[in-house]
């Protein structure tokens, strides 16, 4: 039993704050839940399923359900795959709705890394019990250098250049200029990117995403509930999820788990990459986008550099408009977890509610993809394909 056409996204909310000094983490979750339910035209008592990931404090759903007063929940899921969790949640919510376990599913993400740093709270340490920890942590892996090694290897094998990677940031900045809430709104050039300070070779400062507070939420419902609501409904057509890791030492950094999650989502949706009018691609770093586009089949492996060049990802200019909200590279990367905002902009595009300057015409089929964890070691990859009612 697949999920195609068996559930709809009817409510979304992106928290406008980018620094949450005056808000607690549970408070952000609740504000987001309220916003997403209001967008759907539903109340908290309609919610019978709740989904959250590792960003939710305490025991996740247990604590958050109590805090928010969600009194009718009979289905919970706290699948944690880092920043891709929320796209996995969309898949799991679609499965639960299709199976008849629930009718109204709420997914929330919130984070306050900016506020936590200002308040001097310690960064969350990776669990020492993780089996890889003793053999990796002594060498100083961090988020940037672990993605940088993927870029370095991709350049070595395929001749990908820093200028090609820079085009991904350039495209995101072209979109972010129209988003009043975007953290970075200045349009940048390829030269700006490659001349920005080197953080971890070959990634420059402008190859990296922003760090922001805030979050987002999604409300998903059964077809029957969707029909009773006034909101433009967005159909879930297909989804896939997959882990990818270091394979016991048979390391290959040139591809991501998207090479498995993507085909599964496309098959379930009954579409191919050429059918996708808009793509939200997790952009923790420029290299994340490049490898993901190849793995999802938008171009051949190794040709991502050529594919992203010359504005091909800019809405109204190129063949594959991507991250029209400005993405994690320019707009928002709440809690260092970008999967949620990827779904939100894909929903806006299908509703026709993206900013008019970046709205894709006749956007009937869109894709959102998340990469959680580290592209340079182990990750959770998740893909979802969404469509209009007629798709």
């Amino acid at each position: 039993m697949g999920i195609n056409g068996k559930s709809y996204i009817v409510g979304i909310y992106e928290h406008p704050c980018r620094a949450a000094l005056d808000k607690t983490l549970p408070q952000l979750h609740a504000e987001i839940a309220k916003g997403a339910l209001a967008d759907a035209g539903l109340s908290k008592d309609d919610v019978d399923a709740y989904f959250c990931a590792g960003d939710a404090p305490g025991l996740g759903p247990i604590n958050m359900i109590e805090y928010m007063g969600l009194n009718n929940v009979r289905h919970m899921d706290s699948t944690e795959t880092g920043g891709s969790s929320y796209i996995v949640h969309v898949n799991h919510a679609a499965q639960a709705i299709a199976a008849g376990h629930c009718n109204v599913a709420l997914i929330t993400l919130a984070g306050r890394p900016v506020a936590d740093a200002k308040e001097g709270k310690p960064v969350r340490y990776y669990n020492q019990q993780a089996p890889d920890f003793p053999f990796e942590m002594p060498y100083g892996p961090n988020v940037t250098n672990m993605y940088a090694m993927c870029a370095m290897r991709h350049m070595y094998e395929y001749g990908t250049t820093s200028e090609q990677l820079a085009w991904i940031k350039v495209a995101a900045s072209h979109h972010a200029q129209h988003n009043e809430q975007a953290r970075l709104r200045d349009v940048v050039t390829v030269e700006d990117v490659v001349n920005s300070p080197m953080i971890a070779d070959p990634l420059h400062r402008l190859d990296c995403c922003v760090i922001t507070d805030g979050g987002g939420g999604i409300v998903m419902v059964s077809p029957e509930v969707a029909k009773s609501l006034k909101r433009t409904r967005v159909k879930v057509l297909g989804a896939g999820e997959a882990p990818k890791h270091l394979a016991a030492g048979q390391v290959d950094l040139t591809y991501s788990g998207a090479c498995w999650s993507g085909p599964k989502a496309f098959a379930e949706a009954g579409v191919t990459p050429t059918d996708i009018k808009y793509a939200s691609i997790y952009d923790s770093f420029t290299i994340t986008v490049l490898e993901t586009l190849e793995d999802l089949g938008f171009c051949k492996k190794g040709e991502g550099g050529k594919f992203v060049s010359d504005g091909n990802l800019i809405s109204g200019v190129g063949k594959l408009p991507f991250n029209t909200d400005g993405g994690g590279l320019c707009n928002n990367h709440p809690g260092n977890r970008g999967g949620m905002t990827k779904v939100l902009e894909a929903v806006r595009q299908i509703r026709g509610e993206a900013h008019p300057k970046v709205q894709v015409r006749n956007c009937d089929i869109a894709l959102a993809h998340g990469t959680g964890g580290l592209l340079g070691s182990r990750m959770g990859s998740a893909t979802v394909i969404l469509g209009s009612e007629d798709a």
Partner: protein, 130 residues
């Protein structure tokens, strides 16, 4: 500590990894190998991740390898080189490249293991130009 700084080495030595660290302390790089399927793996595990056999053991590696990929963390003081090195035995491990001119490091470069002091009598396998 900022994310750009390399953490002070603080080895986590548990029962599964203890022989590995004891080997390193004696100047030996050990690789876990499976007697059932004959394949090596890294990081070391009791049950083989290739075939799930429990018949695994540490064997001494040659200590020779080549850089699969690397990155220089420029914002750290001093900058350091993180790398994946593919050992001649066929497994790839996360490590540091040390005692090299950092701007001359290249993918494919031949490297050899050396051991840096890690406190409490332990040592950390790192690599330098062969």
């Amino acid at each position: 500590m900022s994310a750009d700084q390399k953490s002070k080495i603080n080895l986590v030595v548990n029962s599964e990894g203890k022989p590995y660290w004891e080997g390193a302390a004696k100047g030996q790089l050990l690789i876990r190998t499976c007697n059932a399927c004959g394949k090596a793996h890294h990081y070391p595990r009791t049950i083989c991740p290739h075939c799930f056999s429990e018949d695994t053991a540490f064997v001494a590696a040659s200590g020779n390898g080549a850089i699969y990929s690397y990155s220089v963390t420029r914002q750290a003081k001093p900058p350091y080189v993180i790398a994946y090195v593919t050992l001649d035995e066929g497994v790839t491990m996360l490590t540091n490249i040390v005692d090299c001119e950092i701007d001359r490091i290249r993918i494919g470069q031949k490297v050899r293991v050396k051991f840096s002091e890690a406190g409490d009598g332990y040592a950390l396998p790192v690599f330098t130009s062969a």
